[in-house]
Symmetry: C2
Subunit: 219 residues, 2 copies
DNA sequence: AATAATATTTAGGTAAATCTAAATAATAAT
DNA sequence: ATTATTATTTAGATTTACCTAAATATTATT
Protein backbone atom coordinates (compact mmCIF):
# COMPACT_ATOMS: atom_id res chain seq x y z
CA UNK A 1 0.00 0.00 0.00
CA UNK A 2 1.53 3.29 -1.09
CA UNK A 3 0.41 6.19 1.04
CA UNK A 4 0.89 9.90 0.45
CA UNK A 5 2.31 12.12 3.17
CA UNK A 6 -1.16 13.47 3.75
CA UNK A 7 -2.71 10.02 4.03
CA UNK A 8 -0.01 9.04 6.52
CA UNK A 9 -0.71 12.07 8.66
CA UNK A 10 -4.41 11.22 8.71
CA UNK A 11 -3.75 7.58 9.62
CA UNK A 12 -1.43 8.59 12.43
CA UNK A 13 -3.90 11.11 13.83
CA UNK A 14 -6.78 8.65 13.68
CA UNK A 15 -4.63 6.17 15.57
CA UNK A 16 -3.88 8.76 18.21
CA UNK A 17 -7.48 9.92 18.65
CA UNK A 18 -8.88 6.39 18.62
CA UNK A 19 -7.16 5.57 21.90
CA UNK A 20 -9.81 5.38 24.60
CA UNK A 21 -12.62 6.60 22.33
CA UNK A 22 -14.51 3.95 20.37
CA UNK A 23 -14.46 6.00 17.20
CA UNK A 24 -12.99 9.21 15.85
CA UNK A 25 -15.17 12.13 15.00
CA UNK A 26 -14.85 14.28 11.87
CA UNK A 27 -14.46 17.49 13.84
CA UNK A 28 -11.88 16.08 16.24
CA UNK A 29 -9.76 14.89 13.35
CA UNK A 30 -10.08 18.23 11.57
CA UNK A 31 -8.94 20.00 14.71
CA UNK A 32 -6.03 17.62 15.28
CA UNK A 33 -4.81 18.01 11.70
CA UNK A 34 -5.46 21.74 11.60
CA UNK A 35 -7.77 21.39 8.63
CA UNK A 36 -11.50 21.69 7.90
CA UNK A 37 -14.21 19.08 8.52
CA UNK A 38 -15.10 19.04 4.82
CA UNK A 39 -11.54 18.01 4.00
CA UNK A 40 -11.74 15.22 6.54
CA UNK A 41 -14.88 13.85 4.94
CA UNK A 42 -13.11 13.86 1.56
CA UNK A 43 -10.12 11.99 2.94
CA UNK A 44 -12.31 9.57 4.89
CA UNK A 45 -13.85 8.42 1.62
CA UNK A 46 -10.43 7.90 0.12
CA UNK A 47 -9.06 5.97 3.10
CA UNK A 48 -12.17 3.83 3.20
CA UNK A 49 -11.67 3.04 -0.48
CA UNK A 50 -8.14 1.92 0.40
CA UNK A 51 -9.55 -0.22 3.23
CA UNK A 52 -7.47 1.54 5.88
CA UNK A 53 -10.46 2.79 7.85
CA UNK A 54 -14.02 1.73 8.55
CA UNK A 55 -16.27 4.66 7.81
CA UNK A 56 -19.97 5.18 7.30
CA UNK A 57 -21.55 8.59 6.89
CA UNK A 58 -22.14 10.26 10.24
CA UNK A 59 -20.82 7.18 12.06
CA UNK A 60 -17.26 8.23 12.81
CA UNK A 61 -13.96 6.66 11.80
CA UNK A 62 -12.03 3.59 12.94
CA UNK A 63 -8.81 2.09 11.67
CA UNK A 64 -9.04 -1.36 10.11
CA UNK A 65 -6.38 -3.87 11.20
CA UNK A 66 -4.50 -2.89 8.05
CA UNK A 67 -4.80 0.79 8.91
CA UNK A 68 -3.56 0.15 12.40
CA UNK A 69 -0.57 -1.69 11.08
CA UNK A 70 0.28 1.26 8.86
CA UNK A 71 -0.19 3.68 11.76
CA UNK A 72 2.20 1.74 13.97
CA UNK A 73 4.91 1.85 11.33
CA UNK A 74 4.58 5.62 11.08
CA UNK A 75 4.61 5.99 14.85
CA UNK A 76 7.69 3.78 14.98
CA UNK A 77 9.54 5.96 12.52
CA UNK A 78 8.43 9.15 14.25
CA UNK A 79 9.63 8.05 17.65
CA UNK A 80 12.90 6.58 16.44
CA UNK A 81 13.80 9.83 14.69
CA UNK A 82 12.97 11.70 17.87
CA UNK A 83 15.39 9.47 19.76
CA UNK A 84 18.04 10.05 17.15
CA UNK A 85 17.66 13.82 17.31
CA UNK A 86 17.86 13.91 21.09
CA UNK A 87 20.49 11.28 21.71
CA UNK A 88 22.80 11.77 18.75
CA UNK A 89 22.26 15.37 17.68
CA UNK A 90 21.67 16.88 21.13
CA UNK A 91 18.26 18.39 20.38
CA UNK A 92 15.97 19.12 23.29
CA UNK A 93 12.66 17.31 23.68
CA UNK A 94 10.59 20.31 22.60
CA UNK A 95 12.38 20.62 19.25
CA UNK A 96 12.10 17.09 17.95
CA UNK A 97 8.41 16.52 17.39
CA UNK A 98 8.19 18.96 14.50
CA UNK A 99 11.25 17.55 12.75
CA UNK A 100 10.10 13.97 13.27
CA UNK A 101 6.79 14.99 11.72
CA UNK A 102 8.70 15.23 8.43
CA UNK A 103 11.29 12.49 8.88
CA UNK A 104 8.59 9.93 9.66
CA UNK A 105 7.49 10.02 6.02
CA UNK A 106 10.68 8.52 4.64
CA UNK A 107 9.39 5.01 4.09
CA UNK A 108 12.18 2.47 4.14
CA UNK A 109 12.01 -0.54 6.39
CA UNK A 110 15.72 -1.04 6.05
CA UNK A 111 16.45 2.54 7.10
CA UNK A 112 14.02 2.30 10.01
CA UNK A 113 15.46 -0.94 11.29
CA UNK A 114 19.05 0.19 10.89
CA UNK A 115 18.24 3.41 12.71
CA UNK A 116 16.64 1.47 15.54
CA UNK A 117 19.68 -0.76 15.82
CA UNK A 118 22.01 2.25 15.74
CA UNK A 119 20.10 3.70 18.68
CA UNK A 120 20.22 0.41 20.59
CA UNK A 121 16.61 -0.48 19.86
CA UNK A 122 15.15 2.02 22.29
CA UNK A 123 11.81 1.15 23.90
CA UNK A 124 10.64 4.68 24.67
CA UNK A 125 10.99 8.03 22.96
CA UNK A 126 12.07 11.37 24.46
CA UNK A 127 8.52 12.05 25.63
CA UNK A 128 8.18 8.71 27.40
CA UNK A 129 6.06 7.06 24.69
CA UNK A 130 6.69 3.42 23.78
CA UNK A 131 8.21 2.63 20.37
CA UNK A 132 6.62 -0.14 18.27
CA UNK A 133 9.06 -2.84 17.17
CA UNK A 134 9.67 -3.88 13.56
CA UNK A 135 6.54 -6.09 13.70
CA UNK A 136 4.42 -3.23 15.00
CA UNK A 137 4.25 -4.64 18.52
CA UNK A 138 4.23 -1.91 21.09
CA UNK A 139 4.29 -2.15 24.87
CA UNK A 140 1.45 -0.49 26.73
CA UNK A 141 2.31 3.00 27.93
CA UNK A 142 4.16 2.55 31.20
CA UNK A 143 1.44 4.38 33.03
CA UNK A 144 -2.01 5.73 32.20
CA UNK A 145 -2.21 7.96 35.27
CA UNK A 146 -1.86 11.69 34.98
CA UNK A 147 -0.50 13.80 37.80
CA UNK A 148 -3.90 15.46 37.74
CA UNK A 149 -5.70 12.23 38.65
CA UNK A 150 -3.11 10.44 40.74
CA UNK A 151 -3.75 10.23 44.48
CA UNK A 152 -0.14 9.40 45.42
CA UNK A 153 2.05 11.78 47.38
CA UNK A 154 5.41 10.80 45.89
CA UNK A 155 5.65 10.32 42.13
CA UNK A 156 7.95 9.82 39.21
CA UNK A 157 7.38 11.44 35.79
CA UNK A 158 6.99 8.72 33.15
CA UNK A 159 5.75 10.56 30.06
CA UNK A 160 4.28 13.78 28.74
CA UNK A 161 1.17 13.52 26.59
CA UNK A 162 1.09 16.99 25.01
CA UNK A 163 4.10 17.44 22.71
CA UNK A 164 3.77 21.17 22.10
CA UNK A 165 6.99 23.12 22.45
CA UNK A 166 5.11 25.48 24.78
CA UNK A 167 4.44 22.80 27.39
CA UNK A 168 7.78 21.05 27.03
CA UNK A 169 9.71 24.29 27.41
CA UNK A 170 7.69 25.14 30.47
CA UNK A 171 8.45 21.77 32.05
CA UNK A 172 12.14 22.10 31.28
CA UNK A 173 12.19 25.56 32.86
CA UNK A 174 10.58 24.11 35.98
CA UNK A 175 13.10 21.25 36.12
CA UNK A 176 10.58 18.56 35.18
CA UNK A 177 11.75 15.86 32.78
CA UNK A 178 11.35 12.11 32.34
CA UNK A 179 12.36 10.35 35.53
CA UNK A 180 11.96 13.44 37.70
CA UNK A 181 10.70 12.51 41.17
CA UNK A 182 8.40 14.88 42.95
CA UNK A 183 6.22 15.28 46.03
CA UNK A 184 2.69 16.60 45.97
CA UNK A 185 2.46 19.23 48.70
CA UNK A 186 -1.10 20.38 48.19
CA UNK A 187 -4.06 20.13 45.83
CA UNK A 188 -6.24 23.19 45.49
CA UNK A 189 -9.86 22.29 44.75
CA UNK A 190 -10.75 25.74 43.50
CA UNK A 191 -8.85 25.53 40.19
CA UNK A 192 -7.37 22.03 40.49
CA UNK A 193 -3.89 23.48 40.65
CA UNK A 194 -1.25 21.42 42.43
CA UNK A 195 1.67 22.47 44.55
CA UNK A 196 4.66 20.22 43.99
CA UNK A 197 8.24 20.00 45.13
CA UNK A 198 11.33 18.52 43.50
CA UNK A 199 14.08 17.33 45.84
CA UNK A 200 15.33 20.22 47.94
CA UNK A 201 14.13 22.93 45.62
CA UNK A 202 11.41 25.31 46.69
CA UNK A 203 7.85 24.14 46.01
CA UNK A 204 5.83 25.66 43.19
CA UNK A 205 2.33 25.41 41.77
CA UNK A 206 1.22 24.11 38.39
CA UNK A 207 -2.15 24.48 36.70
CA UNK A 208 -4.61 21.74 35.82
CA UNK A 209 -3.74 22.05 32.10
CA UNK A 210 -0.16 21.18 32.97
CA UNK A 211 -0.81 18.39 35.48
CA UNK A 212 -3.24 16.69 33.09
CA UNK A 213 -0.40 16.20 30.63
CA UNK A 214 2.18 14.80 33.01
CA UNK A 215 1.94 11.03 33.25
CA UNK A 216 3.19 9.64 36.54
CA UNK A 217 3.78 6.52 38.57
CA UNK A 218 3.65 6.34 42.37
CA UNK A 219 6.98 5.52 44.01
CA UNK B 1 11.87 31.47 0.14
CA UNK B 2 9.67 28.43 0.75
CA UNK B 3 10.15 25.74 -1.87
CA UNK B 4 8.05 22.65 -2.48
CA UNK B 5 9.71 19.25 -2.78
CA UNK B 6 9.14 19.41 -6.51
CA UNK B 7 10.69 22.87 -6.83
CA UNK B 8 13.70 21.68 -4.84
CA UNK B 9 14.19 18.71 -7.13
CA UNK B 10 14.09 21.00 -10.17
CA UNK B 11 16.58 23.44 -8.64
CA UNK B 12 18.97 20.65 -7.75
CA UNK B 13 18.78 19.10 -11.22
CA UNK B 14 19.33 22.45 -12.92
CA UNK B 15 22.38 22.96 -10.75
CA UNK B 16 23.71 19.57 -11.74
CA UNK B 17 23.09 19.99 -15.47
CA UNK B 18 24.41 23.54 -15.55
CA UNK B 19 27.93 22.38 -14.71
CA UNK B 20 30.06 22.79 -17.83
CA UNK B 21 27.09 23.71 -20.05
CA UNK B 22 26.22 27.41 -20.28
CA UNK B 23 22.52 26.75 -19.97
CA UNK B 24 20.13 23.88 -19.31
CA UNK B 25 17.78 22.64 -21.98
CA UNK B 26 14.12 21.77 -21.46
CA UNK B 27 14.53 18.24 -22.76
CA UNK B 28 17.65 17.52 -20.71
CA UNK B 29 15.89 18.60 -17.55
CA UNK B 30 12.81 16.54 -18.40
CA UNK B 31 15.00 13.49 -18.91
CA UNK B 32 16.96 14.07 -15.70
CA UNK B 33 13.78 14.44 -13.65
CA UNK B 34 11.98 11.62 -15.45
CA UNK B 35 9.16 13.89 -16.49
CA UNK B 36 7.84 15.49 -19.71
CA UNK B 37 9.13 18.63 -21.45
CA UNK B 38 5.72 20.26 -21.11
CA UNK B 39 5.94 19.91 -17.33
CA UNK B 40 9.39 21.47 -17.35
CA UNK B 41 8.12 24.50 -19.23
CA UNK B 42 5.36 24.92 -16.66
CA UNK B 43 7.80 24.73 -13.76
CA UNK B 44 10.29 27.03 -15.52
CA UNK B 45 7.67 29.76 -15.51
CA UNK B 46 7.04 29.26 -11.83
CA UNK B 47 10.73 29.27 -10.86
CA UNK B 48 11.32 32.36 -12.97
CA UNK B 49 8.47 34.07 -11.14
CA UNK B 50 10.23 33.20 -7.87
CA UNK B 51 13.47 34.64 -9.28
CA UNK B 52 15.35 31.36 -8.81
CA UNK B 53 16.15 30.92 -12.50
CA UNK B 54 16.72 33.08 -15.55
CA UNK B 55 14.47 31.82 -18.30
CA UNK B 56 13.26 33.14 -21.63
CA UNK B 57 11.19 31.08 -24.05
CA UNK B 58 13.37 28.80 -26.15
CA UNK B 59 16.51 30.21 -24.49
CA UNK B 60 17.24 27.57 -21.89
CA UNK B 61 17.49 27.82 -18.12
CA UNK B 62 20.11 29.17 -15.71
CA UNK B 63 20.08 29.50 -11.95
CA UNK B 64 20.17 33.01 -10.53
CA UNK B 65 22.60 33.59 -7.65
CA UNK B 66 19.64 33.05 -5.33
CA UNK B 67 18.76 29.79 -7.09
CA UNK B 68 22.33 28.61 -6.82
CA UNK B 69 22.38 29.33 -3.13
CA UNK B 70 19.23 27.25 -2.69
CA UNK B 71 20.70 24.43 -4.78
CA UNK B 72 23.84 24.28 -2.68
CA UNK B 73 21.81 23.92 0.50
CA UNK B 74 19.90 21.00 -0.98
CA UNK B 75 23.11 19.38 -2.22
CA UNK B 76 24.62 19.87 1.22
CA UNK B 77 21.72 18.08 2.90
CA UNK B 78 21.72 15.31 0.30
CA UNK B 79 25.40 14.54 0.72
CA UNK B 80 25.40 14.79 4.50
CA UNK B 81 22.56 12.27 4.73
CA UNK B 82 24.46 9.98 2.39
CA UNK B 83 27.45 10.15 4.73
CA UNK B 84 25.22 9.42 7.69
CA UNK B 85 23.70 6.39 6.03
CA UNK B 86 27.05 4.93 5.03
CA UNK B 87 29.09 5.78 8.10
CA UNK B 88 26.56 5.38 10.87
CA UNK B 89 23.97 2.98 9.49
CA UNK B 90 26.31 0.80 7.41
CA UNK B 91 24.53 1.26 4.10
CA UNK B 92 26.50 0.65 0.94
CA UNK B 93 27.17 3.45 -1.51
CA UNK B 94 24.63 2.20 -4.05
CA UNK B 95 21.75 2.32 -1.56
CA UNK B 96 22.09 5.83 -0.22
CA UNK B 97 21.31 8.10 -3.14
CA UNK B 98 17.66 7.14 -3.30
CA UNK B 99 17.13 7.58 0.43
CA UNK B 100 18.99 10.90 0.46
CA UNK B 101 16.70 12.00 -2.37
CA UNK B 102 13.94 12.09 0.25
CA UNK B 103 15.88 13.11 3.35
CA UNK B 104 17.32 16.16 1.58
CA UNK B 105 13.89 17.80 1.66
CA UNK B 106 13.74 18.14 5.43
CA UNK B 107 14.59 21.81 5.64
CA UNK B 108 16.12 22.71 8.97
CA UNK B 109 19.41 24.52 9.16
CA UNK B 110 19.82 23.44 12.73
CA UNK B 111 19.32 19.80 11.84
CA UNK B 112 21.68 20.07 8.88
CA UNK B 113 24.42 21.71 10.88
CA UNK B 114 24.06 19.34 13.82
CA UNK B 115 24.18 16.39 11.45
CA UNK B 116 27.33 17.74 9.82
CA UNK B 117 28.95 18.19 13.20
CA UNK B 118 27.90 14.70 14.31
CA UNK B 119 29.63 13.32 11.22
CA UNK B 120 32.78 15.36 11.86
CA UNK B 121 32.01 17.93 9.15
CA UNK B 122 32.90 15.63 6.28
CA UNK B 123 34.26 17.25 3.11
CA UNK B 124 33.26 14.54 0.65
CA UNK B 125 30.31 12.18 0.36
CA UNK B 126 30.37 8.40 -0.27
CA UNK B 127 30.63 8.97 -4.02
CA UNK B 128 33.60 11.30 -3.73
CA UNK B 129 31.62 14.51 -4.25
CA UNK B 130 32.46 17.60 -2.19
CA UNK B 131 29.98 18.76 0.45
CA UNK B 132 29.10 22.47 0.61
CA UNK B 133 29.61 24.05 4.02
CA UNK B 134 26.93 25.90 5.99
CA UNK B 135 27.59 29.04 3.92
CA UNK B 136 27.22 27.13 0.67
CA UNK B 137 30.95 27.17 -0.07
CA UNK B 138 32.05 24.01 -1.79
CA UNK B 139 35.53 22.90 -2.78
CA UNK B 140 36.10 22.10 -6.42
CA UNK B 141 35.76 18.40 -7.20
CA UNK B 142 39.13 16.87 -6.37
CA UNK B 143 39.59 15.87 -9.97
CA UNK B 144 37.79 16.51 -13.25
CA UNK B 145 39.54 13.69 -15.09
CA UNK B 146 37.70 10.52 -15.96
CA UNK B 147 39.49 7.21 -16.29
CA UNK B 148 38.25 7.30 -19.87
CA UNK B 149 40.23 10.46 -20.66
CA UNK B 150 43.22 10.12 -18.38
CA UNK B 151 46.56 9.30 -19.99
CA UNK B 152 48.23 8.12 -16.79
CA UNK B 153 49.25 4.51 -16.21
CA UNK B 154 48.80 4.40 -12.44
CA UNK B 155 45.69 5.97 -10.93
CA UNK B 156 43.60 6.42 -7.83
CA UNK B 157 39.78 6.47 -7.87
CA UNK B 158 38.58 9.81 -6.50
CA UNK B 159 34.85 9.88 -7.30
CA UNK B 160 32.07 8.26 -9.32
CA UNK B 161 29.85 10.56 -11.35
CA UNK B 162 26.92 8.24 -12.11
CA UNK B 163 25.08 7.37 -8.89
CA UNK B 164 22.88 4.60 -10.26
CA UNK B 165 22.78 1.46 -8.14
CA UNK B 166 23.57 -0.50 -11.32
CA UNK B 167 26.97 1.13 -11.80
CA UNK B 168 27.87 1.28 -8.13
CA UNK B 169 27.04 -2.39 -7.59
CA UNK B 170 29.13 -3.28 -10.61
CA UNK B 171 32.10 -1.33 -9.28
CA UNK B 172 31.77 -2.94 -5.88
CA UNK B 173 31.67 -6.38 -7.48
CA UNK B 174 34.87 -5.55 -9.34
CA UNK B 175 36.58 -4.29 -6.20
CA UNK B 176 36.56 -0.65 -7.24
CA UNK B 177 35.78 1.94 -4.59
CA UNK B 178 36.94 5.38 -3.52
CA UNK B 179 40.69 5.32 -2.98
CA UNK B 180 41.25 2.17 -5.02
CA UNK B 181 44.55 2.30 -6.87
CA UNK B 182 44.81 0.71 -10.26
CA UNK B 183 47.07 0.25 -13.26
CA UNK B 184 45.97 0.69 -16.83
CA UNK B 185 47.22 -2.33 -18.76
CA UNK B 186 45.78 -1.58 -22.16
CA UNK B 187 43.39 0.71 -24.01
CA UNK B 188 41.46 -0.80 -26.90
CA UNK B 189 40.71 1.78 -29.58
CA UNK B 190 37.95 -0.29 -31.17
CA UNK B 191 35.37 0.20 -28.40
CA UNK B 192 37.37 2.38 -25.99
CA UNK B 193 37.34 -0.38 -23.43
CA UNK B 194 40.19 -0.41 -20.92
CA UNK B 195 42.01 -3.28 -19.29
CA UNK B 196 42.89 -2.52 -15.70
CA UNK B 197 44.47 -4.26 -12.77
CA UNK B 198 44.08 -3.80 -9.05
CA UNK B 199 47.07 -4.80 -6.87
CA UNK B 200 47.83 -8.43 -7.36
CA UNK B 201 44.43 -9.41 -8.64
CA UNK B 202 43.97 -10.59 -12.20
CA UNK B 203 43.42 -7.85 -14.79
CA UNK B 204 39.95 -7.27 -16.26
CA UNK B 205 38.34 -5.07 -18.86
CA UNK B 206 35.75 -2.34 -18.42
CA UNK B 207 33.62 -0.62 -21.03
CA UNK B 208 33.70 3.02 -22.04
CA UNK B 209 30.38 3.68 -20.25
CA UNK B 210 32.02 2.56 -17.05
CA UNK B 211 35.37 4.30 -17.42
CA UNK B 212 33.67 7.58 -18.31
CA UNK B 213 32.07 7.61 -14.87
CA UNK B 214 35.16 6.86 -12.82
CA UNK B 215 36.97 10.03 -11.82
CA UNK B 216 40.68 9.52 -11.22
CA UNK B 217 43.93 11.20 -10.24
CA UNK B 218 47.36 10.08 -11.43
CA UNK B 219 49.63 8.75 -8.70
C1' DA C 1 -42.60 16.36 19.99
C1' DA C 2 -40.98 20.48 18.22
C1' DT C 3 -37.23 23.51 18.02
C1' DA C 4 -32.55 24.98 18.53
C1' DA C 5 -27.80 23.96 18.33
C1' DT C 6 -24.14 21.32 16.63
C1' DA C 7 -21.93 18.03 13.55
C1' DT C 8 -21.34 16.30 9.16
C1' DT C 9 -21.73 16.01 4.39
C1' DT C 10 -22.31 17.75 -0.34
C1' DA C 11 -21.66 20.98 -4.10
C1' DG C 12 -18.76 23.52 -6.41
C1' DG C 13 -14.07 25.74 -6.67
C1' DT C 14 -8.88 26.56 -6.35
C1' DA C 15 -3.84 25.64 -6.70
C1' DA C 16 0.04 22.54 -7.56
C1' DA C 17 2.04 19.29 -10.39
C1' DT C 18 1.54 16.48 -13.60
C1' DC C 19 -0.06 14.58 -18.44
C1' DT C 20 -1.26 14.16 -23.90
C1' DA C 21 -1.92 16.16 -28.24
C1' DA C 22 -1.42 19.92 -31.13
C1' DA C 23 0.93 24.15 -32.50
C1' DT C 24 4.99 26.70 -33.17
C1' DA C 25 9.97 27.76 -33.17
C1' DA C 26 14.74 26.56 -33.88
C1' DT C 27 18.07 23.79 -36.10
C1' DA C 28 19.86 20.54 -39.47
C1' DA C 29 19.84 18.55 -44.03
C1' DT C 30 19.16 18.75 -48.59
C1' DA D 1 16.47 28.66 -49.59
C1' DT D 2 13.40 25.05 -48.83
C1' DT D 3 12.27 21.25 -46.37
C1' DA D 4 12.64 17.96 -42.76
C1' DT D 5 13.69 17.05 -38.07
C1' DT D 6 13.94 18.09 -33.45
C1' DA D 7 12.97 21.05 -29.48
C1' DT D 8 9.88 23.74 -27.07
C1' DT D 9 5.67 25.75 -25.88
C1' DT D 10 0.61 26.04 -25.50
C1' DA D 11 -4.07 24.28 -24.80
C1' DG D 12 -6.81 21.61 -22.38
C1' DA D 13 -7.31 17.60 -18.89
C1' DT D 14 -6.50 15.03 -14.65
C1' DT D 15 -5.40 14.04 -9.75
C1' DT D 16 -4.60 15.31 -5.02
C1' DA D 17 -5.55 17.95 -1.25
C1' DC D 18 -7.38 21.55 0.12
C1' DC D 19 -11.19 25.38 0.71
C1' DT D 20 -16.12 28.01 1.53
C1' DA D 21 -20.93 28.06 1.63
C1' DA D 22 -25.03 25.66 1.67
C1' DA D 23 -27.68 21.56 2.70
C1' DT D 24 -28.76 17.89 5.64
C1' DA D 25 -28.35 14.84 9.87
C1' DT D 26 -27.85 14.21 14.58
C1' DT D 27 -28.23 15.59 19.25
C1' DA D 28 -29.61 18.44 22.91
C1' DT D 29 -33.01 21.59 24.91
C1' DT D 30 -37.15 23.30 25.81
MN1 LIG E 1 4.00 13.95 9.53
MN1 LIG F 1 7.40 11.72 20.92
MN1 LIG G 1 14.82 14.82 -3.83
MN1 LIG H 1 26.44 11.32 -3.50
Amino acid sequence: MNLSVSEENYIKSIYKLEEGQDSVTTNALAYELDTKPASVTDMAKKLKEKKLIAYEKYQGINLTPEGKKAALQIVRRHRLWECFLVEKLAFSWEEVHELAEELEHVRSEKLTNRLSEFLGNPAIDPHGDPIPDAQGKMGKPRTQTSLHKSQAKRLEVMAVSDKSAALLEFLTAKGIRLGTQLDVIERYAFDNSIEIKIRNQPAFTISEQVSKNIMVKAI
